[in-house]
């Protein structure tokens, strides 16, 4: 087997795309043609393939995270428009005035809960990708964390967009046509954008990065929370309590009803705690390691 064939095989084994492989091999073949029998001076084909894969995998993961965040921003825009325009669309219809409560309740739950998960996971993914934008190679563990955050964000964003679409369908006969068309089109666009970003994220996961090192966690991304490192339950209590109090005050102010505020705050606090328990480890927010694994900027 020739040196070039070994390089081609190794690039393929590391998941480098056929198109990229062809480009690399064309350059290497030109190099060898400039000075026949110079293959050995090019180095070990395995190491060269690893260097390409490590850099390409790192860059692809960062790029995919930014695509996912873009799609999430579009979804947030669709949700914001749906709420801002609801007054001119006929006002809040009341959850039991649509086709079916069985459609309205899941739609409303998805529209309230999923955006919060998407915001947290998507922002953490984007923050890490920007903070580490100058690193030519990231450890595989850190890339895995980036990708998990992006997947959680994309999943929650998709759930939100589907919830919005269900809401539109449920209230087709109640809301004004303009609102229905506008919000229906925006949420459909968001669904398509998130699916496209997810497909891109999946495709970029094929490149195998061999670099070892720690993944880091939320405390590396948000150093202000450093005093909570190794105390995940205190972090959970602070997050759930903070979200609960914030939502209770907001609802109390909006509805002029303390009891409604308390109900909403309790619901949001419990939802935040459940979210933390279910997804905290996946997004690097729940770490039992008191020492942590600092990741340099």
């Amino acid at each position: 087997m020739t040196w070039t064939q070994q390089l081609a095989d190794e690039l393929g084994r590391r998941g480098v795309s056929a198109r990229r492989r062809a480009t690399i091999l064309l350059e290497i073949e030109d190099h060898i043609a400039c000075e026949p029998a110079s293959e050995q001076r090019l180095g070990d084909p395995r190491e060269l393939a690893a260097e390409f894969a490590d850099e390409l995998g790192t860059q692809a993961a960062r790029g995919a995270v930014q695509w996912v965040f873009g799609a999430l921003a579009l979804t947030a825009g669709a949700l914001a428009v749906s709420q801002l325009a609801i007054g001119s669309g006929g006002g809040y219809p009341g959850f039991d005035n649509g086709y079916s409560v069985a459609l309205a309740i899941p739609a409303i739950l998805l529209m309230f809960v999923a955006p919060q998960v998407a915001l947290v996971a998507g922002s953490l993914a984007l923050l890490r990708s920007l903070r580490r934008r100058r690193a030519p190679i990231l450890p595989q563990a850190e890339i895995d964390l980036l990708r998990r955050r992006a997947w959680v964000g994309a999943g929650a964003g998709l759930a939100c967009a589907i919830g919005l679409e269900l809401y539109v369908i449920d209230f087709l006969a109640v809301m004004h046509t303009t609102w229905i068309v506008l919000v229906g089109a925006l949420s459909a666009t968001a669904i398509v954008a998130i699916c496209a970003a997810g497909a891109h994220l999946r495709a970029t996961g094929r490149v195998i990065v061999g670099a070892s090192g720690p993944s880091g966690d939320i405390f590396d991304d948000l150093p202000l929370l450093g005093f909570l490192r190794g105390r995940p339950w205190l972090l959970c209590a602070i997050v759930a309590g903070g979200v609960g109090v914030l939502m209770a005050v907001a609802e109390w102010h909006a509805e002029s009803s303390l009891s409604e505020g308390l109900q909403r705050g309790a619901f949001e606090g419990v939802a935040a705690a459940v979210g933390f328990l279910a997804l905290g480890r996946a997004i690097g927010a729940r770490s039992d390691d008191a020492g942590g694994h600092p990741v340099a900027d």
Partner: protein, 104 residues
């Protein structure tokens, strides 16, 4: 010179090499070796991931040409690359001066 020492400065060295004019990968390697009197004796393949990285970062641009019946990728410095090279030169001068002052 140890390969890792050179590798840490490889991006700046490539930018400086291409400051003289466009070149393909093999020529960049030859220029590096010639200008350093053979001191920068890296595995030549190392240059290619660096060239690709610099292009992704917008410091280099490339065009394909046809040379003796085979395709050749020729790299050139972009305006951003020229600015980055200027900054690297200043950093290096300051660093080298400080090291020299300490080492004597």
């Amino acid at each position: 010179m140890k390969p890792n020492t050179v590798k840490g400065q490889l991006d700046a060295l490539i930018l400086a090499t291409l400051d003289a004019g466009p070149a393909h990968g093999y020529a960049v390697g030859q220029l590096l070796r010639d200008r350093s009197d053979g001191a920068f004796d890296l595995p030549e393949g190392t240059i290619y991931p660096a060239l690709h990285r610099l292009e992704r970062d917008g410091l280099l641009a490339s065009d394909w040409s046809l040379e003796a019946g085979r395709r050749r990728r020729v790299y050139r410095l972009t305006r951003t690359g020229k600015n980055a090279l200027g900054a690297r030169r200043s950093e290096w001068s300051a660093f080298a001066g400080a090291v020299q002052a300490v080492l004597g």
